[in-house]
Symmetry: C2
């Protein structure tokens, strides 16, 4: 089977501990240069690969961190995954993925004894998940879990500014395109949308699709258009949803950015390359991930740190889909 430290030691007629020390490049103990080289050579020659399970058992550390998040098949989460993965990797850790979605009921999330967990937007998906005892968790995204370190994003503010932008552009009928969620966020997109609408004295319209992703959104928007005619503006739950909405508009003969102003949410790179390019509220993705990982490793290093919490704002990115800028913003009723 696989070659072990002892195999090497035996061949060299030394202790397997010495081999371990050399292979881990432990500079705090002194080992003769000669031994060092002999070990290194032999290890390479025999094709030694450390057994991480054994090491993990001995050290109580696995050098793995878990990612709990929605499916990377969703535009935005694909980017989040990439960012988180490469940060984790650059720190020498492996990444174990664990889907957190309300479709996945069978989740037993922290089956593996990972050294830490990053949970992204997991609150709105699975609610108050059970926190594993003794494993550091940091939660990223919309909701600040009060029991763990967290990086929250000001979804509410983002939603407000998107809505406000539509209002300022002269829209009077504005609908929020969203989907059914098991949990209602108190400071989420809907809330921000409604509050901006209310402040402007406008009626908040809602287009709620069945769960099932963008395809369902397209159907829902189409249905809505047939029944109520086109609103002036659409504020969408995510960029995926915005693309679906734009498609639905096209199906009914309307052009986004011309007939109807559309704003997405997340600002995925695809939005820049679509036609029309997509106005969107930018998730501070890079920063969020960077800070989150930072928090996590802080806590791994120092478990008794006091709670680390931060909040990051969002920024509206205006592109073609929200139409030409209004000359004057005086069209409120």
């Amino acid at each position: 089977m696989a070659v072990t430290l002892r195999d090497i030691a035996r061949k060299l007629d030394i202790s397997h501990v010495t081999v371990s020390l050399v292979l881990n490049d432990r500079r705090d103990v002194t080992i003769s240069q000669e031994t060092r080289e002999r070990v290194l050579d032999m290890a390479k020659k025999m094709g030694y690969r450390p057994n991480h399970a054994a090491r993990a058992l001995a050290m109580g550390k696995t050098q793995m961190i878990a990612l709990w998040m929605p499916s990377p098949a969703k535009l935005y989460y694909g980017k989040v995954f990439e960012a988180l993965y490469s940060l984790t990797r650059s720190l020498g850790y492996e990444t174990v993925f664990c889907l957190a979605d309300y479709d996945d009921s069978s989740r037993k999330p922290y089956d593996w004894p990972v050294d830490g967990i990053i949970a992204v937007d997991t609150y709105e998906l699975v609610g108050k998940f059970e926190l594993p005892r003794g494993i550091p968790v940091v939660s990223l995204g919309s909701h600040a879990d009060t029991r763990s370190d967290s990086v929250t994003v000001d979804i509410y503010g983002g939603a407000m500014s998107a809505t406000q932008h539509l209002i300022d552009s002269g829209c009077r009928r504005i609908a929020h395109v969203t989907t059914e969620r098991p949990l209602t966020e108190r400071r989420g997109r809907s809330a921000g949308f409604k509050s901006a609408m209310k402040a402007a004295g406008l009626r908040a319209e809602l287009i709620v699709s069945d769960p099932g992703g963008p395809a369902k959104v397209r159907e829902a928007v189409t249905r809505y258009l047939k029944r109520h005619g086109p609103p002036d503006g659409l504020f969408c739950y995510s960029d995926d949803f915005a693309f679906a909405a734009i498609r639905a508009l096209a199906d009914e003969g309307f052009t986004a950015g011309k007939d109807v102003r559309v704003i997405g949410f997340d600002n995925v790179p695809e939005g820049e390359l679509s036609t029309p390019s997509l106005s969107s509220v930018a998730q501070p993705l890079e920063e969020m991930c960077k800070v989150g990982i930072h928090f996590l490793f802080n806590r791994i290093r120092e478990p008794d740190l006091e709670r680390q919490v931060t909040s990051i704002g969002m920024k509206l990115v205006v592109r073609e889909s929200s139409g030409p800028q209004a000359e004057q913003s005086g069209m409120s009723q």
Copy 2:
């Protein structure tokens, strides 16, 4: 610290082995119903969580499989990731991710003693990667690794039929939109494209972008359009690329599906919802993943199986971006 089998055993004044047997629900040994229940209760009460590192060490199996693949931030690979993950998960295995990309030079792929590896399109990215001894690998995608089980996709055939469709639709100037690759596939998209063009007696045009994703593709296509004017048809390396190309066309005042016929590759779900909807060559994603996982677990179960190999065809999906169907396909020169 964490509660162990022994903790439970001690509390109940029985052997930790018994506890292990109960907790693993080993029906081959007989254990009194009473003991069984006492153990189960106590385990729950004490919040027992098995230590998988220990178990892995003892059994030589980790119940983890590794995914080597390009970043899920790319449209197509996001879907692949999801499919593979959920299959793996449904079989009771954890998923460790390992990015295989030519940007990531620092890869030490199988650091963890996983029970198996799925490598997706890894050949064209990293070339003949080193196969870990003793760990089952199955490779999915464009290239059939001759040393492992593999599920190959007939990229070449797919590329040919896309190109042929453009030709049949009346295109005479057709360009393949692609990017620089470290390795050249002999039976890949370019090859299929060129061979179809050659057969039709047409000159194959190539638009090669710098590496760096869709944004670079947009630049490259724009540059090309300015210099050479619009081809009649564009056959793109991937759907991401197609979207970028369509954007570049729009930048120069051309409409995909009207002025220029565009076909992508992969058939990601987003293509159905874009405007115009995207014609594409469909990767047999679901089937590929299903068969791949099947192969992998076959081999995990039975290491000495003979090599499992299969090939799957692609299918052209015609939508709006490739324009209206030609009345007659007689426009060859």
